[in-house]
Symmetry: C2
Subunit: 219 residues, 2 copies
């Protein structure tokens, strides 16, 4: 399956058998990542800014203050590159040369435009629910002034690729006999115990949707 056609722009060159172009692989990485890194060109030079994101079909939603430089540039329709990366482990080979990392990354090329006012609330709900299902209905909704101060940008995905490495190290044949421990040191992103706001009104317990969500959940 190759939903995005490999081209000069999105083709994975180094170790091409790690590359993938199907939506299932790419969107799986997009959805698993909490943040993305947005690259844009400003005065001919690159700028890379981290931000939260949420996918809506074949679009990446970004949001932020209407006055933000990132959001302004993203909304302008200039070319963007949005990259999500999950580091899954350090790969410890018998030779220094074959040390590596296990990872999943998605590199997305596209252009953004401002989401119309009447879609904004639904997009903000989508952002919150992606990170913490159940939270949105529990909290105070944005008022008119807050909605106005927030811009949501939808980036249409024009081309994309994923790159994935999994599994144990691959050493040179003659190195397997070396008396060196080899394997993978996994890296996991996890949620910690909830930290209550010191200003929380006494008697308010963490809601079920948070405590249930946390039971063994990976971040």
């Amino acid at each position: 399956m190759s939903d995005f056609i490999p081209s000069e722009k999105n083709r994975v060159r180094r170790v091409p058998n790690r590359g993938a172009y199907d939506k299932e692989t790419i969107y799986g990485i997009v959805d698993a990542a909490i943040i993305c890194h947005v690259g844009l060109v400003q005065d001919g030079e690159p700028v890379v800014i981290p931000t939260l994101h949420a996918r809506r079909g074949d679009e990446i939603l970004l949001h932020g203050a209407t006055t933000s430089r990132l959001i302004g540039a993203a909304a302008s329709g200039q070319p963007l590159c949005i990259t999500m990366t999950l580091v899954d482990g350090l790969v410890l080979a018998r030779s220094a040369f074959h040390h590596s990392a296990n990872y999943r990354s998605a590199v997305i090329f596209g252009r953004g435009q401002t989401v119309p006012v009447d879609e904004k609330m639904a997009c903000l709900l989508h952002f919150t629910e992606k990170l913490l299902p159940g939270r949105w209905v529990d909290v105070r909704s944005p008022n008119a002034q807050e909605l106005k101060a927030t811009t949501v940008v939808a980036v249409t995905i024009e081309s994309a690729s994923a790159k994935v490495r999994t599994g144990p190290p691959k050493d040179d044949e003659e190195d397997y006999a070396l008396p060196v421990w080899a394997g993978v040191l996994p890296i996991q992103q996890q949620f910690g115990a909830l930290e209550t706001d010191p200003q929380l009104t006494a008697g308010i317990a963490p809601p079920d949707y948070l405590t249930r969500f946390l039971k063994g959940a990976k971040a």
Copy 2:
């Protein structure tokens, strides 16, 4: 302390009190991050690629296959933006609008050049020791062919900034009375239990420098 002068290029605009320009803050984030996202301009458009990095004084070291697109571009002396981000938690406010994330990010602008052949081995050692102190002397060193196949690029930091958010949510005064749980959901990157290479020669135990390193260590 402001080691890097805030300018149009590196100044933190949104929520400026979260911005920092001192080396202690910026380099602390650079050193704590396992990977970075390198932004460059190719045919006038942005490209953002994740990679491992190590800091050497006021330089960011990158490395990769001599044939890699990223390494070639990084070595060419064209402007680069290198961003490191650590996500520390989700900030759960009483209003949707004041939801946020706790994070530490460093945005670095600079240009790279290829490290001379006689410094290459020391740089590769530095990379390995940053991630796993003790590993380098345990494994087979790069041979002449492997060294030739690897390029190390040193990016001189020209300007930089950090942006940091910590602590509980900040709600609007009138929202503190709402019956909504508020606080922080921490996110931590942690090492998991070692996964032995299925092809490991029987009887080789994980070395002390790995097991000692893992005792409660955060990734």
